[in-house]
């Protein structure tokens, strides 16, 4: 079947069932590359939304004046990407969540970057191990990572004090003590939840709770599910128990849905939550919107008390059929190079300074860049709470793990998140739900391996 027919068919599925949604290719212009410094180059999934993006793109444009760069702005859209691939008109580069790479690599829609890494002398050892694992399938590198978002434990010390507790009393290693701690911190009266004690942040953070309990939910090569491990079941049971004790999932979620983490009326400022693991970006929001809040940031820990974090991030991939892979490779190299990150961090720090806001760091996924940024650009704010928090996040970066690349990553994620949701909704017990999820995930992984 020709590519045109396949593209037509793709449209057909939607015609039958959904009204049309657009697709964007990489542009009709042939790359005309051949040398890294010329031709057209197109990207998808990336936006020039802030100085971190614009500074780095400007650096590339400055050094590669002969490359006609077209950035189709917007978040990565699977439908848009697949339509472009099916029509034989993919962009050269795609910027996507690292967890998607395994699936697309397995199906051959993105290129191995072995030659790119070699020719451009990209030192993969510079990237954090968790990021490297997410862009590597069967030992082959398929993407160059960007950013490393980690999860840390945020505490509202004002609420802890009200409960007669201090930050040291919150010990996530002691799972047996969590229900009592949760009961002291939460406020439930008349069946109404007005303050969350501990938010386990499940389904999203179940892999981190499972890891804290000593279990990986999927094998390191991303091909075997491990959802029926008693340690995973125990992690889910613990998380669900914390939520059920706060009025049940319905009330818990509806209360949490009212939170505005990006404004002055955030749940920290409004004393709506006492302890919660969350991505490190909230520190920026807190520094901007609630600089006087009594915020304490601690590392998430395993049951032995050792720091642990779940890492995620984006990556650049070169598509199969890219018309200008040489320029794409040069672009990726420059976007993720230490000097480029350093320039971007300086731009961010200046922008923050101009807005009278603190610069709380930049987590690039590149360890050399991170170190230089903290050695040369980062300046403590003088607010001990935020300065300590930045150091905690630095430690969490070094203790982070990531869900490995998997050929059926999307289906694996669906299987276990559906399981957690069934438990939260009261439809199934943890063991029963994870047993079904294991069967669904295994079927998907086996099919992908065929």
């Amino acid at each position: 079947m020709s590519r045109k027919l396949r593209a037509t068919a793709l449209a057909g599925v939607l015609t039958l069932a959904i009204s049309g949604c657009g697709g964007v290719g990489g542009g009709g212009d042939s790359g005309g590359g051949g040398a890294e410094g010329s031709g057209a180059l197109s990207t998808m999934g990336f936006s020039l939304s802030d100085e971190i993006a614009t500074t780095r793109v400007d650096a590339f444009k400055r050094d590669h004046g002969d490359v006609r760069l077209t950035i189709t702005e917007g978040a990565f859209d699977e439908q848009q990407f697949l339509s472009a691939v099916a029509s034989g008109n993919p962009p050269d580069l795609v910027y996507m969540d690292r967890k998607l790479i395994g699936t697309y690599a397995e199906r051959g829609s993105i290129q191995p970057l072995t030659d790119c890494v070699e020719k451009q002398r990209v030192d993969m050892a510079e990237y954090r191990q968790s990021a490297r694992e997410q862009v590597t399938l069967d030992g082959t590198v398929y993407g160059i990572p960007e950013f490393s978002q980690v999860r840390v434990l945020y505490l509202n010390e004002a609420l802890l004090k009200r409960a007669g507790l201090g930050a040291d009393d919150v010990n996530l290693a002691d799972w047996a003590g969590l229900p009592a701690l949760n009961a002291r911190l939460a406020a439930v009266s008349g069946g109404r939840l007005s303050r969350i004690g501990i938010d386990p942040k499940i389904p999203e953070f179940l892999p981190m709770w499972a890891k804290a309990n000593g279990a990986d939910m999927i094998s390191a090569d991303g091909t075997r599910a491990n959802l029926t491990d008693p340690k995973v079941v125990e992690a889910l049971t613990t998380g669900v128990g914390l939520i059920q004790a706060q009025g049940g999932w319905g009330k818990f979620k509806s209360f949490r849905d009212t939170f505005d983490f990006f404004g002055a009326q955030n749940p920290l400022a409004k004393n709506q939550i006492a302890a919660w693991p969350m991505e490190e970006w909230f520190l920026n929001q807190a520094a901007k919107n609630s600089p006087d809040a009594e915020l304490v940031v601690k590392p998430f820990v395993d049951r032995q008390g050792k720091p642990l974090s779940l890492s995620s991030g984006q990556a650049w991939v070169v598509t199969k059929g890219a018309k200008n892979p040489e320029a794409a490779c040069a672009f990726v190299k420059q976007m993720t190079a230490t000097d480029t990150w350093l320039a971007a961090a300086r731009a961010r720090a200046e922008a923050r300074k101009a807005a009278n806001l603190p610069f709380t760091g930049l987590w690039t996924g590149n360890t050399t860049a991170d170190k230089k940024i903290f050695d040369e650009v980062y300046k403590p704010t003088g607010n001990k709470r935020f300065d300590d928090a930045v150091q905690t996040i630095r430690q969490a970066q070094d203790a982070a793990f990531a869900m490995p690349a998997s050929p059926a990553g999307a289906e694996f994620d669906k299987a276990w998140t559906d399981a957690v949701n069934r438990v939260l909704s009261g439809q199934e017990q943890p063991a029963q739900a994870l047993d079904r999820a294991q069967r669904e995930a295994t079927a998907a992984l086996d099919k992908a391996a065929d």
Binding site: A9, L10, G12, L16, I18, L82, R107, G108, G250, D418
Partner: protein, 317 residues
């Protein structure tokens, strides 16, 4: 005699035939853009997707013929059955409610008089609201603790349900949301009501018919065409429900979080995820064709049954 009468008629028939051919050519010429569009963007893709439904196809690599495997899987996949069940359940609730409420509103609007233009606009405005915005809006309205709906229920002493998390209440919540956009049906009914001849009501009244009898024996038969049309259109739309529910439960993580519910898994949402998230385009094509056949059968049944009850002006009864 025969010669004199027949001979002049032949050029006349030829002229008429020639004129008809010319008119047909012009008609086809004017229709051509639509025909080309239909063949290229509807019929062609449908045929291609029919072929794909017999293949294993991940959009990236060439399709591999697998015969009826996708259709066998369709019959045995519990998630397909669940999503189809949800969709039918939604349709069974949504369509009668939309029709009944819209008719009630249209009857009220007809009585409003001078302000009817204002109210028509008010009722139609929600139709103009983007579906994604409606999904997000109703996530807030249906919030268990702080949503306006449960707050309203609390005023009359009712402890409102968990609309978005309790599997038993997810679908009623979605149906509630769907009633937000019934303006189109209201406008159709209003137009139909305004077309009912006044003298029929006067005659019925003279014969002693009360309000209910006039509604039952005059209004309903006279607007049965509009009722039938909206029945078919709303049924088809319900079976293709996608955007609002996808936004609420499966779309943006900022709005839906990572919580989704089996109870909100509609057929087209499942199809979309199979096609674009799990890259099972062949299977998704089979799902699309199954839905097409279901809609076709339901519509044919509705037409068959509907023709017995629908009054078409000018027809002999």
């Amino acid at each position: 005699m025969a010669t004199t009468t027949v001979t002049p008629a032949v050029p006349g028939r030829r002229r008429r035939a020639s004129l008809a051919r010319r008119e047909a050519r012009w008609a086809y010429l004017f229709l051509a853009p639509w025909i080309v569009g239909f063949l290229a963007f509807t019929a062609g893709p449908m045929i291609a997707s029919l072929w794909l439904s017999f293949t294993e196809y991940d959009v990236i690599n060439s399709p591999r013929f697998t015969g009826l495997d996708n259709y066998r899987q369709l019959m045995s996949d519990p998630q397909v059955a669940r999503s189809l069940g949800n969709t039918v359940y939604y349709t069974a609730l949504h369509v009668p409610l939309v029709m009944a409420i819209s008719l009630g509103l249209a009857l009220l609007l007809k009585r409003v008089g001078r302000l009817s233009g204002f109210f028509r606009t008010v009722f139609y405005l929600p139709v103009m609201t983007p579906a994604v915005a409606v999904g997000i809006l109703f996530l807030l309205l249906l919030n268990t603790q702080d949503g306006l709906i449960n707050r309203g229920l609390a005023l009359v002493g009712i402890d409102g349900p968990s609309w978005t998390t309790d599997p038993d209440w997810v679908m009623p919540g979605i149906v509630l949301m769907s009633l937000w956009s019934l303006g189109s049906t209201v406008i159709i009914y209003l137009a139909a009501l305004q077309g009912v001849p006044r003298d029929l009501y006067e005659a019925a009244q003279l014969d002693g018919a009360g309000a209910w009898a006039r509604f039952r024996h005059v209004t309903l038969p006279m607007i049965s065409g509009a009722l039938f049309f909206t029945l078919i259109v709303n049924t088809i739309a319900s079976l293709q429900m996608f955007t609002e529910v996808y936004t609420m439960y499966f779309g943006n993580r900022q709005t839906a979080g990572s919580f989704s519910s089996d109870a909100a898994s509609f057929y087209v949402i499942h199809l979309f995820r199979e096609a674009f998230q799990f890259l099972h385009m062949g299977f998704a094509s089979a799902m699309a064709w199954l839905l097409f056949l279901i809609i076709l059968v339901i519509t044919l049944v509705q037409v068959k049954l509907g023709n017995r009850f629908v009054y078409y002006e000018g027809e002999d009864r």
